[in-house]
Structure formats: structure tokens, C-alpha cells
């Protein structure tokens, strides 16, 4: 071991001091004897002790300084800093060398650490700026599903303060957390794989709503599993896509749906867009007889109902069809719909509805409680602070209005919302216009079709006429000859002989048969000849009584009973008595032919003020046809000997009287004819 200069100096001083003392004693007292020896030994001992003491003191000082330096270095190591300096006066021992090396190593490490720290700082800065600059919002959940962290974007977007969400569960942040998000988190915890939930609707407790792609990942920090939820706001994109898809849905609906109501519902559903895209409520009023009449409304009745709808339709996955949202909307808002349907607003210059309609421009009401343009009636119906009125303009005139608001999430009505509404309003206006055109076209088509049927029928009748005329001609000629000669036989001078009488009787039979056939021919020709009616005010009851009396013998012969239930005070109808008699005759004969012995025919008359009704029902075999009304077709017959014109004549006469005739089979058997004849105004 090495001694320091001071130690050596001290040793020299102490040794010199002993020698000097001994020399003094010798010179002074000249005594060197045994006691002296003891004194010397004692002195030497003292000297040794002093020297030992000096030695230890020197060593202590020597090490103390270096250990302190090392300790400070270690302390700095612990802190990760290397600023301490230690300068040995002279490197003449190992310890100083080591301390020096330690210092150099420390410095070196310090420079490395500083460089790395700088690098880390740079990285941190970059990292932070990335986090802040990306449009995504994210939150980190701990293993108990409580929020550990959220980025500034999240706070800003959803209008939260840190303390409002820190250590909360996600259910306490969002109004509803749909099943997919929950299941997604559970799945990620289970598998450790990242899950992506596309187009998910989120609504926070403070009613900020977004459609987002949500990415859920698992990160493990210090053996603790954490969930990072990255929320990508795609509301705008989804809204655009959704609008395009809605437009096609709406135009499809217009082409497909017969009822304008469905088309309007589709449009209003588009305005409210089910979940998070559009307005909370939308109502449609159309100009009707100088008033704006409520026609359709879509939207929930309460905030709870709104949440219900949005939860049901909170995901815009690819396979989610518009109709699912519509179905959810359909369930809700019955009260709103009823109130709107009952609402009618007369056009008033000062009312906002009228202004929007006539001015053909959207009007945004920001504070309906204090806006003079909002009439008390409108205020009562809307019951909301802010709403927008958009006119429906077709062919450059206002035909109605759409009114929309955000009653339930109180979201302010933005420029983009107004744009959305005006798109749908113009679509709605076109739909309504095209629908009413379509309606007109349909009406025209119906008329055309009726006209065509009439033409077909008249063509049929014309053909019947030509055939009948030809047949009549061919048959009448021989009849005329036969009958003429029979008549001549009868006109021969009478002999009182038996044989002459027989000849006479036979000739008469021939003549009668000829006359009968000629009459039949006349009937056929009556059918095809344009009728010339003598229309007078007749009581149909009289016609029926007359006809029944005429056929009395026939009823008796066939053993069929006839019951007349003729309404009293039956209004008179303008009709040709003989033609009507023909109708009754043909109908009763027809029923009689269909009714077996013992059956009954019932004729009833009555009136409802506009028409008189004649019912003729029988207990016969009925009509074995899918549509019993075919029996009115010319030449339709089931009889062996019939021509098949009797009922066709009936129909023609009734039609010529602006009436209507139908036949149906009765449940209890037999057929029933129903005639309606208009009572002249």
C-alpha cells in the first residue's frame, strides 16, 4: 500500500520528535538507565500508536474521498445522469485509476443516454403529433373495461373532459353500445386479434352522434391486457353513400308501389335516415284545397323511442337494407303520425309554412318560441326550438312542404342537413308530381280499357246483327211462303164437312207455327237493330206485376211458385215500358227454365235513393261457370233449343237505360240476378 505525502510527512515529524526528545533527555539529565528504557519503550509505543493512528487517518481520508466520488457516481447512475467530475491530483494509485475509468465510462454512457433520450424525445414528439393529427379518435380500456386513456381528438369530437370519462365504462359514455361493439371487445380479449366493426353508429351521452368504422385491438402492457378502440368517423362518407342508395330505393319505390303513401314514407324515412345521419323527425304537408294538410310523418314520439330505433338500426353493414330501418321507423311515431295527419294549416301570409311554400325557399327557424313567423298552431304541433321548413316544388309551383327537426338529440341544424333536406324535398316533389301524373294516366288507361271493352262488345253485337240479319232473311222467306199458303187454305170457301174442318185446323197450326217463328226472328232483329226507346217515367213494380200476370199459366204448368216482394213507394225510373217488360220476361223465363218442379222464384224491388234494385232469385240449378256473368254474352246458351240471345238482350236494354245487371250463384243454390237502374236526379 502507498502512503500519502502527508502521512509520510507525519511519520517523519513523529520520528524526529521522538529522537529529539530522547536527545534532550540525555543532554539535560545524562541519565540513561533502566527507567529510561521503559520510558523509551513507552515513547516508541506511543509513537507506534500515533503512527498507526496517523496511518488509519490517512487511509480513511484517502478512501473516503474516492468512495464518496464513487457513491455519487452510483447515485447519478441510478438517476441516469452523469455530470459528476472527480479529479485526482495525480494518478498514482489503482483506486484513482478505477475511479477515473468509472468517470470516463460514466461520461460515455451519459453521452449515449443523452443521445438516446433525445432520440426518444424526438420520437415522442413525432408520435404525439401523429396521434393528434390523425382524424381517428381512440380510447384505451383497462382489463376491467374502464377507460384509461382517450386522445385529444376523442375529447374534442365527443365534447368530453378527461374527468368525465376517465375510469368509466363505455356504457357510461355512449347512449347505447350495440351488441357488435361489446361482442367485438370480448372477442378481442379472447383471441388477441384485431376486430374491425364497420359503419357502426355511436351516440354519446351528450348526444354527439357519429357513424364510424371501429377498430378494436389488444395491447399488453406490463402483463396487463388493454383494449384500444380506434374510432374512424365516416359519417360523411356513409351519408353520401346512403343518400345515393336511398335515391335509388325511392325511385324504385315510386315505380313499384301503387300507393303514394308508401313513396312518401320512403322519402321521409330518407330524411330521417334511421340512425345518426339525418333529422330526428320529418313531416310532410301537401297543398290541398287551399290548406296545407298533413300527409305523412316519420320519427319517434319520445327520446326513449328514438334510442330504441337507433339501437335497432345502429349498424350500417352492407347487408342491412333500407327496409330494416323503415321497419323500425314504422313501429315508432304512431302518435306523431296521427297528429300530423289530423293537422291542417290554412294558408296564412305570416306563417312560416305558407312563406316557405309560396316563397319556394327553405326557412330555418332557430328559436321557434320567439319567432313571429311561427304561428301558435305550428308551435303546438312542432313543440321544438329549432326546425327547418323546405318547400316541395314541382313544375315551378309549391305543392307542399317538408318540415324536419332534431327534437331528440337537439343537434343544431347544419348547412349539410339543410342540403340533405332540399335534395329529398325535390325528390319528393317529383315523386308526388309523377305519381299524380301516373294516377291520371291510370285513370285514362282505365277509361280507355272500358271504352275498348265497349267497342269489343258493340263489335260483337254488330257481328250478331249481321249474322242475325242473314239468318232471319233465309228463314223468313220459306216461312212467309208456308204461312201464306196456309192462310190461303184457310181462306178457301168453307164446306161444312168434317174433312174440311180438319184441313182448316191443320192449316191453322201451320200458320201459328209460322207466326211464332216469325216473331222469334223479329226478336233477334230487335236485338241487333239500334233501339229507339220511348222513355217515360215508369214504375218498375207495374212492369213486374204485368209480366208475372202474363206468365201465370206457365208458372202453374211448371209447378213453380212466384213471390213478389215489391217495395212500396218505389221511385219512378225513366224507361221504355215494353223494353223493361222484355227484360222481366226474359229473366223470369230464364229462371223458370232453370228451376225444377216445386221450386220458387222470388222477385224483390227496393231503392236506396240513388238507384232502384231489382232482385230475381230462383231455387234452380245455378250457373256452372267460373264467372256467372258470361251468360250475358250473345249466343251463350245451355238450352238445346235456345239461340242464346235472351239474356244478351236483357243486358243491352239495361245498359241502354244506364243501368247495370249482375248475376251470382246463391249459397243456398240457384242464381240471383241483380239489376240497378238510376233514379233520375
Amino acid at each position: 500500500m502507498k502512503l500519502s505525502i502527508i502521512e509520510i510527512l507525519l511519520l517523519l515529524i513523529s520520528d524526529t520528535a521522538v529522537v529529539a526528545i530522547l536527545f534532550y533527555l540525555y543532554v539535560q539529565y545524562h541519565i540513561i538507565h533502566t527507567r529510561m528504557v521503559y520510558i523509551l519503550i513507552g515513547l516508541i509505543f506511543v509513537l507506534i500508536v500515533i503512527r498507526a493512528a496517523l496511518f488509519f487517518l490517512g487511509n480513511w481520508l484517502f478512501y473516503r474521498r474516492r468512495i464518496n466520488a464513487i457513491r455519487e457516481v452510483v447515485e447519478e447512475f441510478k438517476k441516469g445522469k452523469f455530470t459528476q467530475t472527480y479529479h485526482a491530483a495525480r494518478i498514482d494509485n489503482e483506486l484513482d485509476e478505477i475511479v477515473n475509468e468509472l468517470m470516463i465510462a460514466g461520461k460515455h454512457l451519459d453521452s449515449i443516454m443523452t443521445a438516446q433520450k433525445k432520440e426518444i424525445d424526438n420520437f415522442n414528439e413525432l408520435y404525439n403529433s401523429i396521434i393528434f393529427s390523425i382524424s381517428s379518435y381512440f380510447i384505451v380500456l383497462g382489463d376491467d373495461d374502464r377507460v384509461l386513456f382517450a386522445n385529444d381528438g376523442f375529447y374534442k369530437k365527443f365534447q368530453f373532459h378527461r374527468e368525465e370519462i376517465y375510469d368509466r365504462k363505455i356504457e357510461e359514455i355512449f347512449y347505447f353500445v350495440n351488441a357488435r361493439l361489446k361482442a367485438g371487445i370480448a372477442q378481442v380479449r379472447l383471441t388477441g386479434k384485431t376486430e374491425v366493426l364497420e359503419k357502426t353508429h355511436l351516440l354519446t351521452l351528450n348526444k354527439v352522434s357519429v357513424i364510424a368504422d371501429i377498430k378494436i385491438s389488444n395491447i399488453v402492457v406490463k402483463d396487463v391486457s388493454q383494449i384500444i378502440i380506434i374510432i374512424d368517423d365516416i359519417t360523411r362518407k356513409v351519408r353520401n353513400d346512403y343518400q345515393i342508395s336511398l335515391m335509388s330505393q325511392i325511385s324504385e319505390s315510386i315505380q313499384k308501389d301503387d300507393e303514394i303513401d308508401r313513396v312518401l314514407f320512403t322519402i321521409l324515412t330518407g330524411v330521417t335516415s334511421g340512425s345518426g345521419l339525418g333529422f330526428n323527425r320529418a313531416m310532410l304537408f301537401l297543398l290541398d284545397d287551399g290548406e296545407l294538410a298533413g300527409k305523412m310523418a316519420v320519427g319517434p314520439d319520445s327520446f326513449e323511442e328514438a334510442i330504441e330505433i337507433w339501437t335497432a338500426a345502429s349498424s350500417f353493414s352492407q347487408d342491412l337494407e333500407f327496409r330494416d330501418i323503415a321497419a323500425a321507423e314504422m313501429r315508432a311515431g304512431v302518435d306523431l303520425l296521427n297528429r300530423v295527419l289530423a293537422a291542417r294549416f290554412p294558408l296564412r301570409e305570416d306563417g312560416v309554412f305558407t312563406r316557405a311554400l309560396l316563397g319556394m325557399e327553405s326557412i330555418l327557424i332557430v328559436d321557434s318560441w320567439n319567432d313571429a313567423r311561427v304561428t301558435p298552431e305550428i308551435r303546438e304541433l312542432m313543440d321544438v326550438k329549432e326546425f327547418i321548413v323546405s318547400p316541395l316544388v314541382a313544375a315551378n309551383r309549391g305543392i307542399g312542404i317538408i318540415v324536419a327537426d332534431n327534437k331528440f338529440n337537439n343537434a343544431p341544424i347544419l348547412k349539410e342537413n339543410i342540403e340533405l333536406l332540399s335534395i329529398f324535398a325535390s325528390q319528393a316533389a317529383m315523386s308526388i308530381e309523377s305519381y299524380s301524373n301516373l294516377d291520371t294516366v291510370r285513370g285514362e288507361m282505365q277509361k280507355l280499357s272500358e271504352r275498348q271493352n265497349a267497342i269489343v262488345e258493340s263489335e260483337k253485337l254488330a257481328a250478331v246483327g249481321r249474322i242475325a240479319a242473314h239468318m232471319a232473311h233465309e228463314i223468313r222467306n220459306p216461312l212467309v211462303t208456308m204461312g201464306g199458303y196456309a192462310r190461303r187454305i184457310m181462306q178457301l170457301p168453307k164446306e161444312r164437312s168434317k174433312i174440311s174442318k180438319k184441313i182448316d185446323a191443320s192449316a191453322e197450326i201451320i200458320l201459328k207455327e209460322c207466326e211464332r217463328l216469325e216473331k222469334t226472328l223479329s226478336n233477334v232483329m230487335d236485338f241487333s237493330r239500334p233501339a229507339k226507346f220511348i222513355k217515360e217515367f215508369n214504375n218498375i213494380n207495374d212492369v213486374i206485376s204485368d209480366t208475372a200476370a202474363l206468365l201465370k199459366n206457365l208458372f202453374l204448368e211448371r209447378k213453380v211458385s212466384v213471390e213478389l216482394e215489391l217495395g212500396s213507394d218505389l221511385p219512378l225510373v225513366k224507361s221504355d215500358f215494353n223494353q223493361m217488360k222484355q227484360v222481366m220476361l226474359n229473366l223470369i223465363q230464364n229462371s223458370l227454365d232453370a228451376t225444377p218442379t216445386g221450386g220458387a222464384i222470388t222477385i224483390r224491388t227496393g231503392s236506396d235513393g240513388e238507384v232502384i234494385n231489382i232482385n230475381i232469385s230462383d231455387t234452380g240449378v245455378g250457373i256452372d261457370e267460373e264467372d256467372p256473368n258470361v251468360i250475358f254474352e250473345p249466343f251463350y246458351t245451355t238450352k238445346v233449343t235456345g239461340v242464346g240471345l235472351g239474356l244478351a238482350i236483357v243486358k243491352k236494354i239495361i245498359k241502354d237505360h244506364n243501368g247495370m245487371i249482375r248475376v251470382a250463384n246463391r249459397e243456398e243454390g240457384g242464381a240471383e240476378f241483380v239489376i240497378r237502374l238510376p233514379i233520375p236526379g
Partner: protein, 119 residues
Amino acid sequence: MARLLIVEDEKHQRELYAMEFEDEGYEVDQASNGKEAVDLVKANKYDLVIMDIRMPEMDGIEALGKILSRDKKIPIIIYTAYSNYKSNFMTWTADAYVTKSSNLDEIKGKVREIIAARS
């Protein structure tokens, strides 16, 4: 005594009319189609022609035209088994249109009426 021309293609019918009108006291000539009728009208003077429509060789309509173009004053009664062309035939300036019937009362009455009116 008034002289009639009966134009009818059916022999038995024509003979029946001839007998009936002779019984009524008229002098009756017969033609079996329009052509014969036109020839007879050229050769003789008739007080009245009873004309069927549908006949072979020349029908009643054509014959009517030819006879009228020769003598506008001769009365002609269309007497036919067609019942539904009355208004058409009347416009062709026949004096009357009667539908054939085994009962000859109507045609007899018409003939009487026209003859009486002319004399």
C-alpha cells in the same frame, strides 16, 4: 184496273202474291229477278212495283235504280225478308218498305194506300 208487277225470285212465294193480289182485283205481272223486272217495266206500264231485294242476276236495289232512272214517278214498294235495313232502303227513294210476313195484310194495305193516292 190497277196493274202490278211483282218481282220475286222464289216461285211459290211469287205465285202466292199473284194469287192474293188477283183476288184483291189487281192485274198482276210477275218477274223472277231484277233484270226481268226492268225489261217488263220498259215494255209495259205498271201502277206499282213490289220488289224483293235479294235475287239472282240483278238484285232489287239495282233494279230499283234502273226503273227509277227511266220513270221517276212509278211507285215501288220494297218487300223483303230483311227487317233491319228499312232506313237505308227508304233513302233509296222507294215509296215504302215492308218486311215480308205470312200475313199479307200489311203489304196489301200499303198497295191500296199508294194506288188510292195516285188515282
